[in-house]
Symmetry: C2
Subunit: 382 residues, 2 copies
């Protein structure tokens, strides 16, 4: 048996948990807090709430709300300058995966210097990061508990995957109330991202018994609650369940890593600036189909987690039901089914495939995948 | 929805993981390491292995192997003196729950001063503890990941429960190879302790979705692997599964706390110095029976985790099967079934009941329990 590691931040979960943000930062030694967020979260009033709670604890702050979807290298570099000029000593990220990934990248450069490109890959970080508290508002990325930050290299038009235990925040504050301001498309897309995290971490070559239970539970929750959560902004039960699903999937994939869906979608996102969850949702059934022969038993368990009637089925039959269940869910949520809808052109496939096989996430995909395999899969999904 | 917290140390798991002990302590800033252990673990050569790995990293150490089963206040006080005299700045506990609880208590007093009695109860610790790495060798206590330390107050003959996030070690190193030197009685007793952690944390009033999946998985693993693990010292598959079960149950109960079995067995252990797992095994089915009306659905899920054929049963019927499954497991392992076997006398019941209702673990028991209720249960189990 190989030796495995499992690391996760302190987690505070529940409606109203946002109010603990000041206390948490104070406990971590914060004096002046860099608040990293995005215009959408700002517009919905969540940043104001955070500022209120920081003031209650006499914490100074600097506000930076320039993270864009698929956050870019130049945004991060501007953010670091602001962090250093304002003499902050702690970072609070509030938003979706983009805002949190940007906040992490700013914390990284603020303490380790250089440009973000130097840290692409695994374990390139030398010095400790400032205290980090992350508040997710999308039930999607899992970045609030993960050792990942994904930043676009705008020169190369690729997403850089930065992986390090140092990127795991100190505290993740998950407040399902923040999900009630998400629009339906974002709800559907980010929910499909959660599903992808659950499925890819479950079949990952680096999965362990500590991650598998969370992967499966996340899949169960998405299967049951993503439809009602997308249907109704004020369904608090569904929002809480999706927040929990995102958290559990995050704890799983941070430790078990991901697979081919993410390896490919990182490239597509970098090239076309498309919504991450939407790209994942399109790719997921194709990758499941491709990976299926690597571990049909595991795909059978995924069908069970979906509540599919697979008693008496063979693993392979059950695995097919899992793939169908994913397609049906995406259909019900009106998610596009082809990459051409997102603007992908045939001549872009070669470079995408070339880069995808080098992505960190490809290492743990359960079935070997060559450039040709990726290209064939992308053509299927066009 | 209430706000819940989840905290767990960094975990390193796998056969051979013990070899990482020096690297881990070095990473945490250790210079001179206080090794807390017990005579049994020393005799089996595990302490020597640890010393070897510390020397490889040029770490100094002080050896203290005086922890007894149900560790006593005066042992802890002698240990702290040794810790301070040797000028250690980090603590490594290796052994069963007793050695690890003693090591934690020594780390606590070494940094916070005073006597161990001052810290009884919840959140009494003010200053940070030194870096702590814990290596469990019994697949039982879960202390390597928990926020608990249980120390006997020898004057009052009661176990003091000390609960604080500060008691959560920095790193838990779980190496299933260390289980191959456990004798069969210890294997059975500590395994029943794991089962009790799984069941009590699952039905606890403080259970959350983050703890419930680990509780259930721990129960599944015990149901499947405790018999073969007890049957054969060299069954590596069963040892690894029980090590994982103990870890998952520990992560669950550290965050969800426990219930009446532990509230009562802490008193019995303090009074009679009996093996903790054995007392738990005797009490568990009686407490399940008592608690059953509080959450029959949850007990039904426990029956499912045991692999009992409960399809089509009502929750109450399934719950009864869970209780029977626990009794059958204890019977197969030749665990005593009555408290009188352990030396309990009728006239001791009043004081035990009086103290049990005040134990921290009683707060999260799913059914209210008065002194009279405890006394009645103890008489049933005589």
């Amino acid at each position: 048996m190989r030796i495995t590691k499992f690391v996760t931040p302190e987690i505070i979960f529940g409606a109203g948990a946002l109010s603990q943000v000041g206390e948490c930062l104070l406990r971590l030694g914060a004096r002046k807090v860099f608040i990293g967020s995005d215009p959408g979260v700002l517009a919905h009033g969540w940043v104001e709430r955070v500022v209120h709670h920081l003031k209650q604890h006499n914490l100074e702050y600097h506000l930076w709300t320039s993270a864009s979807p698929n956050p870019k290298d130049f945004e991060v570099h501007a953010g670091v300058e602001a962090y250093l000029n304002a003499e902050c000593n702690a970072v609070l990220g509030i938003g979706g995966g983009s805002a949190i990934d940007a906040a992490k990248a700013i914390a990284l450069l603020g303490s380790n210097g250089g440009t973000i490109h130097q840290y692409e890959g695994v374990d390139k970080i030398k010095s400790p990061l400032p205290p980090m508290v992350m508040v997710p508002t999308t039930a999607g990325s899992g970045s609030e508990v993960s050792q990942f930050s994904i930043i676009v290299d705008t020169n190369r038009s690729v997403k850089m995957t930065i992986v390090s235990k140092s990127l795991i925040p100190d505290i993740a504050i998950v407040d399902p109330e923040t999900l009630t301001t998400k629009d339906r498309r974002l709800t559907a897309n980010t929910g499909m991202d959660v599903l992808t995290h659950g499925i890819e971490s479950y079949v990952s070559l680096a999965a362990t018994p500590l991650t598998e239970v969370y992967s499966l539970q996340a899949i169960r929750l998405v299967a049951r609650y993503l439809r009602p959560s997308t249907a109704c902004q004020s369904n608090h039960e569904a929002k809480a369940a999706m927040a929990m699903a995102s958290l559990q999937a995050g704890m799983a994939f941070s430790n078990a890593i991901l697979g081919a869906v993410h390896a490919i979608s990182h490239q597509l996102g970098g090239m076309l600036d498309t919504p991450h969850g939407e790209v994942n949702a399109i790719l997921l059934p194709y990758v499941m189909q491709y990976n299926c022969i690597a571990c049909p038993e595991k795909y059978g368990k995924i069908a069970e987690a979906f509540g599919e009637p697979v008693a008496g089925c063979s693993s392979t039959q059950a695995a097919k039901r899992a793939i169908e269940a994913v397609r049906e869910l995406a259909d019900d949520l009106d998610i596009p089914t082809t990459l051409s809808t997102l603007g992908l052109r045939d001549e872009q496939i070669a470079i995408l495939s070339h880069n995808a096989v080098k992505d960190v996430c490809m290492v743990t995909n359960p079935r070997d995948m060559s450039e040709d395999d990726v290209a064939a899969l992308l053509r299927q999904a066009m």
